[in-house]
Symmetry: D2
Subunit: 347 residues, 4 copies
């Protein structure tokens, strides 16, 4: 058994972490912290968690958080660094924010306003790199882990096998991804109102300006062993959760179309949370709702000279909270799949 505290327990990511921890056989839920909502009941913010409804939210202080085996940080970007610095080194800190994801301070500086806080082991266990290692190699027993962004999760797991195997070209990758609106968190903005979201799809952050862009480039470059060039366009879709990423890259010169799939098959054969679908089936965000799985499928378009890989994840589960719990399992030496659902809630 381990104890866990959550900072940001009244938000969407915090709520999803709690939902997963309630089903985790090794976890005892400890302090639930919030900022503006400290002092209120969890039930006022997370009506879907009745067994915790009467727990009172505490202020987000190092004193409250320390004394747990794991601390999950589900805070706005930029808020994790100062807090993490005050937590004991033997507490496993799993940060769902962006603060410690990027290795390159210049990439950070181009996309964020705050100083670069540093770089933590990157919490995408299945990510394969050009040298054949996987990101999980850095995560076992780690006490500081940076949980990936939701878009980078879908895109990186979609493309890394082909890049690492050299069957697709990293120099002109094009990604268009659709996300459910929970991806924006509980932000009170007019364009996130139900009346404006339902029935509507719209792009945002077009032209390479979305903050997940450098994280995607970093991951694809690590997979390719060479600098990747990525055009990334996110879009907002009329659904609460889910990301569908359509990722295309040019077929590498001399690669036969029929041999392409093998790279993905070999990379993910033993991964419990990556499902390369049988040919003829395509991923749907509906099938991974609440699940920690990414569903993948690919096709080779010989006329266009491109491989198209599609990936579906639940942005809050595999894209955030499930990855966080997965990382905590690695940090604590538990079997990776402990407590994590592979079944989605469908239809």
């Amino acid at each position: 058994m381990f104890t866990a505290a959550i900072a940001g327990a009244s938000g969407y990511a915090g709520g999803e972490i709690l939902r997963l921890l309630l089903a985790h056989p090794e976890c005892q839920i400890g302090a639930l912290c919030a900022s503006a909502n400290a002092g209120s009941l969890l039930g006022d913010h997370q009506p879907h968690l009745p067994s915790l409804a009467d727990r009172r939210l505490e202020p987000t202080t190092p004193q409250v958080l320390a004394g747990h085996d794991v601390v999950f940080l589900a805070l706005p970007h930029g808020a994790s660094a100062a807090l993490a610095a005050q937590l004991p080194q033997d507490v496993a800190v799993v940060d769902c924010g962006a603060d410690f994801r990027l290795a390159d301070p210049q990439a950070w500086a181009r996309f964020y306003d705050t100083p670069h806080a540093g770089t933590w082991p990157y919490g995408m266990p299945e990510l394969v790199r050009a040298d054949g290692t996987r990101a999980r190699d850095d995560l076992r027993g780690a006490t500081r882990i940076a949980v990936p962004g939701c878009y980078p999760t879908a895109v990186s797991l979609a493309l890394a096998p082909g890049l690492a195997a050299g069957v697709i070209d990293p120099t002109d990758v094009v990604v268009v991804a659709a996300s459910g609106t929970s991806g924006a968190g509980r932000s009170l903005k007019p364009h996130l109102l139900g009346a404006e979201v339902m029935g509507a799809m719209s792009p945002y952050g077009v032209g390479g300006v979305h903050r997940h862009t450098p994280e995607i480039v970093q991951n694809l470059s690590a997979a390719a062993g060479a600098g990747a060039t990525v055009s990334f366009t996110p879009t907002l879709a009329p659904m609460p959760r889910g990301i569908l990423a359509t990722c295309t890259a040019r077929l590498a010169p001399g690669v036969a179309a029929e041999s392409v799939r093998q790279a993905w098959e070999e990379t993910y054969a033993a991964e419990p949370f990556v499902h390369l679908l049988p040919q003829g089936r395509w991923p749907s965000t509906g099938a991974v709702l609440g699940s920690n799985c990414v569903a993948l499928q690919l096709a080779v378009d010989e006329s266009a000279g491109r491989v198209v890989v599609t990936a579906a994840v639940d942005n809050l589960t595999k894209g955030t909270a499930g990855a966080a719990v997965h990382c905590a399992n690695l940090a604590l030496g538990l079997p990776e799949p402990t407590g994590l659902p592979t079944a989605g809630v469908a239809p």
Copy 2:
């Protein structure tokens, strides 16, 4: 450990039973049966259950189903009786169809075309009756159980405490309920197409002709200890899952408004799957998605002389598959909450 077979494994209810059984610590999933889909893979029909994707669907025969501790029947109405008759008496049969729900053959005859198959113990454990007993009293160790309909679950749990306590009047109950479209199963009908459902609410079965009407009347009469009269209008709502039932009954003569709530508080104080919300919060189907809980709240409208009780359930979980697993737990002598989620998937 117990073994379970599912008849109707390729439908919505069958899929939800499987999702729950995958998380059930005492269950080993056995035969998966289908009718028209026998011979195909489960993954062709239930893309959200990757761990069972390669399981092949078997024909629905007594031979295939027998030899399990529990058989779940998730079949069209009218198909259960013949099959159940051929299963050994020591196999626990949990029927999600309507066949064995009604005690009154005449009520059956008015709403169904087929002969009345009989009456099994009614699988709504929390239902309180006028004599103070609960339906669970008939379920412990039972080997034949009729799982309630989804609408009757929401409506009966909403109103029974007040009827049993005599604080509301059973003679002019009015219920309007909205259901997600999975309630109609995977039926290929134009009005269930996504393009026609999204953005649209519409009534159906108006005027007391919906088949769940006699089941609601039966339950409310049992709670009241007297014949209930119910106007029930179901409506189709643009969401995949969920029922929101708005149930009103006249305040019984001489009952003080401020004493009404007590009947619900006392009835449900110890129920793990019934949550009477604190005052000021209202149920939402979104908060019970995938959960085995019903969320309740009530108000007294003194101007109208009516009590209004609102109930939210997931029609596939608490309204069908969760109740079925709950019943199986009772049949097998397991603790009632075993393997059943109280947390919803939200937002």
Copy 3:
């Protein structure tokens, strides 16, 4: 040709009025006014109106509004009275707010915080009253008109014919209505966020406390010629627009079920915007999206002793802006249907 100014042009109701006026053959759109948004372009707020995108919003002052033939007020409740008092009497003022809807100052006082501003002719032309007159009789040539609320529109048009004809009983009316989330306006509240709304139905204002309750009671009482008692429960549905109202009343003593429908047929035979559907079809909010029609259907539930009338409207069109334009047509002496669509946008 007439000229029209709109106060509240950057809100949902204002946008819908503009959409309708753009298709009105007799209207020239004049000043567009806003409060906090004054100074910005209409295109920043109403992206669906490209032909007006470059129009700049003016401050909401009597000076700007005066000098038009019609002024539409689409303001928060309580803001219309002071403004209207400063507009010339020969300008037709059509108020979409609640300020002038209620005749009874005490009913106003129970539901609103502000002083009662007065009572204007009630802008529901088709409303039949016990004395056989219709509300339109007060609207021809009127220069001050109070546009009804969206829920009262659906409920009153659903029940008034039966009440006026004496075939249903006004003393125990029960109404449950589902509304799309645009009914709440562009309010930045967490429960209106897309992520929380989609997939979710929830009640609000339960127990007779919704502000549309006294307006419904007023209308039904006028139709019945006697005090109506109404239990009204509104619910929030996962769709942008639309109201589906399920309205039930007891069949009056001695009335034969088969004669009930006649009251509705006779009342609405000549109404261009009320469609009593042929038997066997049921209203859907999807079929009236963007239309100025209300679709009605009814059934008699003899077992329950109740008549159930269901009504579908678009809350922003027939429920607000279409009614406003309809009223303007009456005020100006134009044919009532001028410029108003009866076709919905479906599927």
Copy 4:
């Protein structure tokens, strides 16, 4: 005044043509034809068109269709050719099917099973070609017109200006588009059921196999004056209507990023149904619901070396029925915008 007959009046495209024609000041609606639904009332299939609800559907024969000024064909692909051959040459035939869209019989043969029926003037008036002409030049007075596909409309109008101006490169175009489910018509397929569609996004026709691919290639090649290479991935989005196309192409060598936008500004300055949004605003399908406009916006991603153009249309209006009416206006010599809405129904 002109008379119009519709073949396929009970389908989605036919219903939308009727909705538009009802608001067309020059049109008198004549025969409404159907296949399997002949003999039934239009109101059984198009509940949103109350003014035509009692019109009876006639069989789809040349005899019934002839004698009108315009015949709109809204039929399954492959059904138009035989019918059109039997209609008099002086009847304007506007075909919403694919039969006559493609100029290259080999491209047709690769994507369709039926023989190539021929090539009609292509009904996308605003499409600019490398030689500076527009497609409308072939449409004035034409008596046979092929209405474009919905995806090709969004994609071609998005990219043609840059291709014609030489500022983007036609050789590696990547398009990902999301469509509402009405794009599939009223087909009774499980994956189009509301319960499976809502909350879910999924790709289909991946790898260049969607039938709209050769039409897109044809249009982009005509714009570029050179063969275009296109990777096209369609996805299904949880909304009834709308297409959001994200279209990217490499910036042509030597072109300055700040000069790119000019090509679109100049091409569309005078087009009533193409709205290049002001910088800072992005298209949304919600804003063009029911409108005949396409909304466009673009960005240059210098890091990726690509221009990203996003386009939003209503697949049934601008993407089908609105284009058909636009073409009819051109065929009949009416002003192009006659009877066509530019305002969307939002929110």
